[in-house]
Every structure is written in C-alpha cells, then in structure tokens.
C-alpha cells in the first residue's frame, strides 16, 4: 500500500468565516486505492475540508495538489474535471425524475435534438451494473430507498470517471445489511484504484474498512494513524481527552407506568404493538430501518393517526392523531429528522426553545416574550449549548447543539415521557455523551424515555429494557442484562409469520 501513488495532497489549508476559524492548518494526503478515514467531532472541520475539495468553498491559505501539481478548485466543475466526486449526506438527486434521467442529468443522449430514452436507459443500466444495483432505470427516484439512492449517487460519480470519491457519513442512514453491501462496493472500488475519503462517526467501521485515519480537531489535523488504532485511542485524539465511558447509563428503580400502548395498529405500517414505559426507565426500541419504529413513535405522539388500539398516559386514554393532547398529557417527541421536523432553522435559539411552551406563555393572546427568553437562556445554559447568544440562528449550530435545542424545548415543557427518535444520529462522540447524561438526569428525576435507535451499541448501552420491532410488529422484549448484539439482531430479522407479540 505504501508504494501506491499519491493522488491528492492538502497542505496547511486554512479557512475562516466571519467570526470563526473553520480550518487552521490541515494536512492530508490520499493515495490511489486506499480508504482514508477523516475523523473528528462535529465542527472539527471535516465538512469545510471536503467542501473545499469539491469546489464549494475556497481556501484562504495553504495549497491543494492533485498528482503533485498545485490546483485551484473554484467550482464543482473544476472538481469534476480533476476526478473528485463528493457524495453528501443530502443527495443531489431529483426525486421526481427517473433513475435513468438522474444518472445522465445534464448530458442525456440525444437523437434529432430530442432525448433518446432507449439509449439513456441502456447507459443507465450499464452504470447501475457497475455498482451492483438491480433497479429498473425507469423507476422514479422518489420511490427508492435511501440505500439505493446512495448507490445511485456512487454510480453517478463513477460515470464521471471519479478517481477520488469523498463520502460524507454514508453509513449514518443505512441498516446493517445495507452497510455491508456498501462496504463491499467500497472495497471493490479500492481494488480498482479509486481513492476514497470516508467520513464516519461509527468508530467500529474504521478498522473494518479503512487503511489510514486522519484525525481533525478544532480545525487542525492532529494526527495521522493506521486504521487499526484502538477505538479508545481514536476517541482520545478526537476529543483531546479520554472519555471514561461511552455509555454512562445509571439505571433507576422503575416506578409507576407512565406510558402504556395497547394493540396499536395501522394498516400497512404496524400491527398490534403493545408496551409500557415506567417512570425512571429508558426503554430502547431496536429494529431494522423500515421496521415501523418511527411510525409507532409518531402515532403514539399523535403526529399520525392509527386505526385501532390505544395510548394511555398515566392511565388516561389519549385521542388519536392529536399532538396537542399528547403534549398536554406530558409526552414529547424528538423526531428522527432534526432539521426537517425538529427545528425552525431560520429562527433563533430562544424562539426554537420556546416553541412548545409558547401557548402556556400566552395570556389573552399575548406572549410573554421576556419570560420565554429568560427560560430559554436557563435551559440553554443547563444543556451547555455552545452558542454566541440566544439570538443566534439555529441553522448555524452544530448537529449536537441543534439536537440539544430540540430536546431543550421539551425540557422547558417538562414532558414526562420523552420519545427520542435516533437522538444521536450524526452527532459526535462528545455531544453524544452529553445527551446520554441528560437522559440519565431525566430518568433520575422520574421522567421516562423511549429511545429509538439504529445504533445497537447505543441501544444496549443506554436502555434498561429493549423492545425489538420487525416488519411492523413488536417481536420481542429483552432486559438490559440479557440483550446482546446477537440476541437483538436475531429478533430484528424475524419473519412476520412467526412473529408473536409478547
């Protein structure tokens, strides 16, 4: 591997934005046929670095060399010409167009000035074959799953003869089997000599897939280490201090049942789901993506309707499909899609924190805005939100701090049962632990937490009980002591036919 040719080199790269130094001297190099992992907490500068490599930002200082020659990457077209392709977490696909149309977007094969649909689909099929995806090119992209969309993005990049493929947290949204398939493809690409920059927050993936790791911290590259470096060491490099415990769960004695769900059913989504959550408990919900976990959570909270069954909070039945009633009863939902459903990105921190309590702060139609601001300030401080002031737009916060805001609005409302859907997705290690500690303090004060997560170590590390869902049904319940990766996964892949609700 060490003799492999160097394709890309970045030297002392610097970038400042008004008020912030985003990058402050980053060195990085990439060889043909390697998977080079970029590791760092949110805000460490990973995104800024890859945006400069893809032409979205211009560096203020330092240099970028491709094949030993200094280059300037001013636009996405420049990056494309140099063979650098980036796959962001938010895909660059047009959902209303077909797979084929997306693959040849901007340069469709033409005949007599019209798009030659047949040839377009032939080309698309060839491109899909290279990434091993068997989907009809005439399918609309909106109908695809996330994993397939990702493969489509990779196919697009390969069609442009990309030599450098930058992947920004590609596994964050994938299930275990999908991750395996992605890794298979990445390994194949590596064999073919493609150089891959891989960003992930899942440390266990590094040894599985990576060759080298560059760790970024506070806008600097702190060290370059081999991929088989122990996880504790990687964490230490990343946060600059050792983290004693990745999952600091302090179990409480379970109290009275706060939330009870009985036989909840919605045709086509989930069936006969029953469980309860007691005061002081963290109940984890595991399962593959698409098992119906989010759907159940939203139905319980009243965000979506259900066909039959009931939801009881402290023994009182909630009307279906009524968010307000669920809130008043003491439920809170931290949705899976933080930006799309949890936050008003263009509004400031105080405004977002006060969203749930807005109604209670209203007298005769008028909002006590000073009071709202004061409470927001209190919670922001309690949560340790890193911000310049309460008037800062939420858009400009890091993922971890944004998540604290979403949780914070329910703290202000004093929700007794908090439903957390993927609470730490895309959040760095340091902020994760802070959120776990928050969960601890909530349960210590008699609140209950229902936590959906696709991150198995997190489910195992933080839950007192684990519910497992598969294909819309609850297929099992495990106590913290008996739950292991294997026992949970065995349940998660249960077929519906033999599924039995506990």
């Amino acid at each position: 591997m060490s003799q492999a040719r160097e394709i890309l080199r970045v030297e002392k790269l610097g970038k400042r934005f008004p008020g912030v130094v985003a990058l402050d001297g980053v060195d990085f190099d990439l060889r043909e046929g390697e998977v080079h992992v970029l590791l760092g907490e949110n805000g460490a500068g990973k995104s800024t670095l890859i945006k400069m490599l893809s032409g979205a930002y211009q560096p203020d200082s330092g240099s970028v060399l491709v094949d030993g020659e200094p280059v300037e990457i001013r636009t996405a077209a420049d990056a494309q010409r140099l063979g650098i392709a980036t796959i962001y977490q938010e895909f660059n696909l047009v959902p209303e167009l077909t797979v084929g149309e997306n693959l040849v977007l901007g340069r469709p094969p033409r005949r007599f000035g019209l798009v030659d649909t047949r040839r377009m689909h032939e080309q698309a099929r060839g491109m899909l074959d290279r990434v091993g995806v068997t989907v009809d090119p005439r399918t609309r992209v909106a109908e695809l799953g996330i994993a397939q969309m990702q493969m489509l993005e990779i196919a697009k990049a390969l069609a442009l003869n990309a030599r450098v493929l930058i992947m920004d947290e590609p596994t964050a949204v994938l299930t275990t089997t999908e991750v395996e398939r992605l890794f298979g493809l990445v390994r194949q690409l590596r064999e073919r000599g493609v150089a891959i920059v891989f960003i992930t927050h899942h440390l266990e993936e590094i040894a599985q897939l990576g060759d080298r790791v560059t760790v970024l911290r506070d806008g600097r590259s702190v060290e370059q280490v081999p991929a088989d470096t122990p996880e504790e060491e990687l964490i230490r490099l990343m946060v600059g201090r050792p983290i004693d415990q990745q999952f600091p769960r302090q179990a409480q004695r379970a109290g009275e049942p706060l939330l009870r769900v009985e036989g909840l059913t919605r045709a086509g989504a989930f069936a006969d789901v029953s469980f309860e959550v007691r005061a002081g408990e963290v109940v984890g919900v595991a399962g593959l993506v698409g098992a119906g976990r989010t759907e159940v959570a939203r139905a319980v909270f009243g965000a979506d309707p259900y066909d039959s069954g009931e939801v009881l909070v402290r023994g009182r039945r909630l009307p279906g499909g009524d968010v307000r009633a669920a809130m008043e009863a003491g439920l809170g939902l931290v949705p899976e899609d933080r930006k799309g459903q949890g936050l008003v990105l263009g509004a400031d921190i105080a405004e977002n924190l006060g969203l749930v309590t807005l109604r209670h702060a209203t007298r005769a139609g008028f909002v006590d805005r000073a009071g709202q601001r004061e409470s927001a300030g209190r919670v922001a401080e309690q949560l340790g939100v890193r911000m310049s002031h309460l008037g800062q737009e939420v858009r400009t916060l890091s993922g971890g701090n944004q998540q604290k805001i979403v949780i914070g609005k329910w703290l202000l409302a004093d929700a007794h049962v908090l439903i957390l859907d993927e609470p730490t997705r895309g959040i760095d290690v340091g902020a994760k632990v802070e959120i776990y500690q928050l969960i601890n303090s909530l349960t210590a004060s008699g609140h209950a937490v229902l936590m959906i997560s696709s991150d198995l170590p997190e489910i195992l590390g933080m839950s007192d009980r684990v519910l497992v869902m598969a294909r819309g049904r609850l297929v099992g319940e495990l106590k913290a002591a008996e739950a292991t990766q294997d026992s949970v996964m065995a349940l998660a892949v249960t077929e519906v036919e033999d599924a039995r609700v506990h």
Binding site: G342, V344, L358, V367
Partner: protein, 322 residues
C-alpha cells in the same frame, strides 16, 4: 448610501438601523435623491400626499405580511377590498342599513373571504396561490354582481375616512399607522404572530411542537381578509364611492411591498415595519416620477427595475453578512 450617511452623521442609532434594514436605507436614499432633483418633493403637503397614496397599499400589504410569513401568498386581497367596500356601500344605500352596521358587515365579508381561503388551503390542501387566485375571481365577480357593474355611493359618515383632520392630517395615513401598529403587535407579541413565524419557518416542526397549524392559518388568512376590507373601505372613502373594479392589481403591489420590506416568500421572515417601508418606497417612487414628469409608461419600467434592485440589494447584503 454615501448621501444618507452624511445626512445622519450624528445619529449612530439611526445608522445601525439603516445598516440592519436595507430597504429603509433605500427609502432614505430615494427621499434624499428626489428632494435634490425636485423642489416640490420635500414639502409637507407632498409628503402627506405620498402617505395617502401609500396608505391603501400599505394596509393591504400588512395583511399580506401575515400570510407571506406563514409561507403562503394571498392574491385575493385587491378583489376582497373591492367586494368589502361594495358590500358596505350597497347595504347602506340599498337596504338602508345604518353605516356602523354596514361597516361591520363589510369587515365580516373580509373575514369570511379569508376563512374560505384558509379552509381551502389548510384542509383542502390547495396551494395558496390557486386557492386565493380562485377567491380573486369570486370576490371580483361578486363585487360586479352586487353593484351591477356601476359605482355605488359610500355613506357620508364613512366617506370621512378619506378626509383630513383639521384640514391637515389625512385620515388614510392615520388608519395606515393604526393598522401598522396592530400588525406589528400581532406579529411580535401574540401567540398567533409567533406561530406564523414558526409555521413559515418549518411547518412540520411547528406541528410537532403542538401548534395547531390549521387553526393558525385560519386566523392568518382571516386577518389578511380583514386588513383587505379596511383597505377597501379607505380607498372607497377617498373616492366617495365603492367601485367594482377598485384596487385591481393592488395584490401585486402589496406582495412587492412585503418583499421589498425584507420578507421571504418561502416564509418565516418579515416585519410590519419593513412592509411599511416597502409600501412607502413604491409610493415615493410614483410620486417622485410624477413630479419629475416622467411618462406613465416609463414609470412602470422604473418601478419594475426598482423592485428588482431593492430585493437584490437586500439579498446581497444578507449573503455578505453571513
């Protein structure tokens, strides 16, 4: 920009206000430029005249501000204004309803039109553009039906809204100020106002935070309707009669005023003060071009260019600030 800072050298507060509000700066530049170019511009009489010209647009635009902040659009405000005024004049003249009651009926017409818009949008899931475009047709048509196509005289008591107080202060300007303050208070201080920003910023997040989105949209469009009714009554008072074709095309001026004032058509942003400035820019421009004897044809061209420039400058300034 240089000129404006020279004028206000000693006032740092005013300066920071201008820096934060691009449209206000543009208005100041416009006023300074026009006073230099025409001796008739900077007179009390003329400025009050500008106020009267701005009043109807501004009142309509305050109502549109609510809607635009929620991420919607209301194309029906001009037609609703005409219909409301027409109903007032008609009920007073033909059915002999006392003018205060007729006025209330007219305001109610505005509210009902807004509610119908909101029901179509919030519960019928029609795009606001289509729902309010349909309402534009219906309201304008009904105004013609009610009036049988000809103007109806306004009750004398109501027509005083078009007069001046003490022969000096025009009542429309006063009404504009009052409606502006109401709009600002609603937006900044009330639950509904704060909910409008949340809905426009992220409707799903607002819903999941317990805001009854449908109900708040009902209130939003009803407010837009009632503001339109007030604007229609003020306009008819100035003309002393309700005309079925009154305020045609005013909805576009209202939207332009809101956007020039710094609101975003994608929702979540906008302020009453900005909207007032937007409406004043349009009125100052028309007035100034008249004083400079620019032909009515060229005026349209200039106003189009200014709308684009004002919004462009604001966008560039914000991007630079990031």
């Amino acid at each position: 920009m240089l000129v404006s800072t020279n004028v206000l050298t000693s006032r740092s507060a005013a300066r920071s206000l201008l820096a934060e509000n691009g449209s206000l700066a543009a208005l100041v530049v416009l006023v300074v430029a026009l006073s230099l170019m025409s001796g008739d511009f900077l007179t009390v009489t003329n400025l009050l005249n500008v106020g009267v010209q701005a009043a109807v647009t501004a009142i309509l635009a305050f109502g549109s501000t609510f809607v635009i902040i929620t991420g919607g659009i209301d194309l029906s405000v001009g037609a609703v204004a005409a219909l409301s005024a027409m109903v007032l004049a008609w009920t007073a003249a033909d059915t002999g309803l006392p003018w205060p009651l007729a006025t209330l009926v007219a305001l109610a017409v505005g509210v009902v039109c807004g509610l119908v818009n909101a029901v179509l949008i919030a519960y019928g899931k029609l795009p606001p553009f289509i729902a309010t475009l349909a309402m534009l047709g219906v309201a304008r048509g009904l105004a013609l039906v009610v009036s049988q196509g000809s103007p109806i005289e306004m009750p004398e008591e109501v027509s005083r809204l078009g007069d001046t107080i003490g022969g000096y202060l025009p009542v429309p300007v006063l009404v504009m100020a009052v409606m502006g303050v109401i709009a600002a208070v609603v937006l900044n201080r009330t639950y509904t106002g704060r909910a409008m920003y949340a809905i426009g910023g992220n409707e799903e997040a607002a819903r999941l935070s317990g805001i009854a989105v449908g109900k708040q949209k009902l209130i939003t469009y009803a407010l837009s309707g009632v503001f339109a009714a007030v604007a229609g009554i003020v306009l008819a008072s100035r003309l002393a009669s309700a005309q079925p074709q009154a305020a045609a095309g005013y909805e576009l001026d209202a939207i332009a005023a809101v956007v020039i004032g710094g609101a975003s058509l994608s929702g979540g942003k906008g302020r009453a003060l900005g909207t007032l400035v937007g409406a004043l820019i349009l009125a100052v421009l028309r007035n100034g071009l008249n004083l400079l004897s620019v032909s009515a044809f060229w005026q349209q061209v200039v106003i189009g260019v200014v709308i684009a420039l004002a919004v462009l400058l604001d966008t560039l300034r914000r991007r630079g600030g990031r």
